[in-house]
């Protein structure tokens, strides 16, 4: 098949022109700058493409009581979340889902799923949700190491600012180990970044150039309410530590119950002994 074709090709009267055309195309391709990307860009593109399916957009509807106490389900909030497990376990900020009645998750492939909050940890501003993924599992994010982060290292934020849809922003780590106070709560050991983080980025991913999650975008410092390039993220180490507790919230309850039982038992023993001593003393006298 190939042989006759090549023969025909070389025998044809146009071969000179064809070869010249191919040469021209080759030269044009070699000299065109259209698809030339720098190594830095290729790294960024790869990191984004790796995590893009693991970041979801969250839309919340809050029921508000109006003046006559009729429920008005109007207020719509937006946030982001990261997929922790393929079966639809999603981590976000607790302030994203706080007081929300109806939580809808939009995956990067365009599916809209109803989410159910499993547990909330307001102290760490973390919340765990579950969506029913059906037969199409989501892609889980890879948790990276947030302890080896260095100031000046490049990071990327993926989220849903102002509900616009999935957005990538880039910046560097401005500082690690920040402590901020917000409404009486203290958040310790946060990562500070200059990648633009806006309302709606909350719960979104802060990733390194390997496409690993190093932080969860949580707060910003701003006089205007929108990004002035001072954003804060919860380190991935905190997320790793919080996941088992959030997945099995009854463990904590069980722990408290056990502690109370133990305390009751100890106090009873002490008082019983004291009571016995008292009884013995009174009997002696």
């Amino acid at each position: 098949m190939v042989l006759p074709f090549t023969f025909l090709f070389f025998a044809s009267a146009f071969r000179g022109r064809v070869i010249a055309a191919f040469l021209l195309i080759y030269i044009a391709a070699a000299h065109s700058n259209v698809s030339a990307l720098t190594p830095e860009e290729i790294t960024t593109i790869r990191a984004y493409e790796k995590v893009a399916p693991s970041v979801v957009n969250i839309t919340t509807h809050v029921c508000e009581a109006e003046f006559f106490f009729c429920a008005v389900p109007s207020i719509i909030g937006s946030g982001s979340g990261v997929v922790l497990k393929e079966n639809g376990l999603i981590m976000t900020n607790s302030h994203v889902v706080a007081e929300a009645r109806n939580i809808r998750v939009t995956t990067s492939d365009g599916r809209r799923l109803e989410a159910r909050v499993i547990s909330v940890d307001p102290d760490d501003d973390l919340a765990l949700m579950k969506v029913d993924v059906g037969d199409k599992p989501l892609k889980a994010i890879v948790l990276g190491d947030s302890d080896t982060l260095r100031v000046g290292q490049r990071v990327l934020a993926v989220g849903n600012p102002f509900g616009l849809g999935q957005t990538l922003t880039s910046g560097i780590i401005s500082m690690t180990g920040r402590t901020i106070k917000d409404q009486g709560r203290v958040f310790q050991n946060l990562i500070q970044t200059d990648a633009p983080i806006n309302p709606g980025n909350s719960g979104g991913a802060l990733i390194n150039l390997d496409g690993e999650l190093v932080g969860l975008c949580t707060a910003i410092l701003s006089p205007t309410g929108s990004s002035i390039r001072i954003g804060f993220a919860l380190p991935a180490a905190r997320i790793k530590a919080a996941v088992p507790e959030l997945m099995h919230p009854w463990h904590r309850i069980a722990g408290w119950v056990l502690a109370i039982l133990l305390a009751v038992w100890v106090f009873r023993r002490i008082y019983r002994r004291q009571g016995r001593q008292y009884d013995e003393q009174t009997r002696d006298s």
Binding site: N33, V34, T38
Partner: protein, 373 residues
């Protein structure tokens, strides 16, 4: 012996010279990263192609004193003859003054505007050698994460370079007259008022977009900027230079999105499509037999003009809503014949052939949701 000494001496001198050469040159070569060198190279190469545009409108106050009001924007040189691409909203109605990167000022002439894509072309008579032409790239092959560089004139400060990445592609935006502009590029390179009309450039120095809008509650950059893709500009620029305007195809029908609940209430056999509200008398749609609505109906909280046809396909391409139909028609040219697949008010489906006209230049869309073509 003596010769040997000399040669050894020469070798030492040479060695020392080499050492000094390396000591002198290695640090400067390695002091900047590849990324920084790329930015610097692009700026030096393309800055002469970015201009500041000042539009001055003369206004009169209550006592008829003259008050010149200035607006600033940016533009990119796209042709060595002095054609400059910018935003329509930068131009305004005023006197245009263009300042080149070397500080020289020229009075600019308006060549053409296209309010539908918010683009405009102006011309200055500057010598060829003072202008650097910014080559047009391809915005269809953009990838999220690649570098995006904006050069412009934020707040009228003068030429400014900001860098970032492509945050997202394929966003949609409404131009000032309500027309949908598609394939918008989103970037986190700082874009501020005054950057409008300036170029967004990739790492190879090609124009990929025209910085046009920002999303911001404060009015200044919050890391969310939008640029009109260069492929849109490429499509219309030649015609703008030649004619002063871009002739869009014109159907002569006002369309509305048909939502499932409206379709259900009207007992139409379809769920999605573009419903015809009215047709321009004597227009292409009217001549082709397309029928507009003739009565009002209240559905839910909305008053809808019903009785018109519903467009389901344009040239056998399915359309889901008004924007979809407009998108398909926009790909064609005035004079083209199109085949519309429609459903009549009584439920019968039909195929109509309509010859597209040329859009009258004063026609503006009345509502964001309703496109008039």
């Amino acid at each position: 012996m003596c010769l040997g000494l000399v040669s050894r001496f020469t070798i030492r001198i040479l060695g020392l010279a080499f050492l000094m050469f390396f000591l002198a040159h290695i640090p400067s070569a390695f002091a900047l990263t590849e990324e920084e060198n790329n930015n610097i190279d692009l700026y030096q190469r393309l800055a002469p192609g970015v201009v500041n545009i000042t539009s001055t409108i003369i206004e009169h106050d209550f006592f008829l004193n003259v008050i010149p009001r200035k607006g600033t924007g940016s533009g990119s040189v796209i042709d060595s003859r002095g054609y400059i691409l910018t935003n329509n909203h930068v131009i305004g109605d005023g006197k245009l003054e263009v300042t080149l990167a070397n500080g020289k000022k020229y009075t600019a002439r308006l060549i053409g505007t296209d309010p539908d894509t918010d683009l405009a072309v102006v011309k200055i008579d500057a010598p060829k050698e003072t202008l650097a032409v910014i080559p047009m790239g391809d915005s269809a092959s953009l990838k999220v994460g690649q570098k995006a560089i904006a050069i412009g004139n934020p707040f009228g400060l003068g030429q400014t370079l900001t860098t970032g990445v492509v945050s997202s592609v394929g966003r949609t935006m409404r131009a000032e007259n309500g027309t949908l502009v598609e394939d918008i590029i989103q970037t986190d390179a700082s874009i501020n008022p005054g950057n409008s009309g300036g170029p967004l450039i990739d790492s190879s120095g090609n124009l990929i977009g025209i910085a046009t809008a920002i999303f911001s509650p404060t009015g200044a950059s919050v890391g969310i900027g939008f640029a009109i893709p260069v492929n849109t500009a490429k499509r219309i620029v030649d015609e703008l230079i030649a004619k002063g305007y871009y002739s869009y195809p014109f159907l002569g029908a006002t369309l509305m999105n048909l939502f499932p609940d409206i379709a259900e209430a009207l007992r139409l056999p379809v769920r999605m499509g573009a419903m015809v509200i009215e047709t321009t008398p004597g227009g292409p749609a009217d001549q082709g037999g397309l029928k507009g609505g003739n009565r009002k109906a209240q559905i839910g909280n909305n008053v809808v003009i019903v009785g018109g046809d519903v467009i389901l396909s344009v040239n056998d391409v399915q359309v889901k809503d008004a924007d979809g139909a407009i998108r398909e028609i926009r790909k064609l040219h005035p004079g083209d014949k199109i085949q519309l697949g429609i459903v009549r008010w009584d439920g019968t489906s039909e195929k109509l052939t309509v010859t597209l006209g040329e859009k009258p230049r004063s026609v503006k869309s009345r509502q964001p949701k309703t496109g008039e073509r």
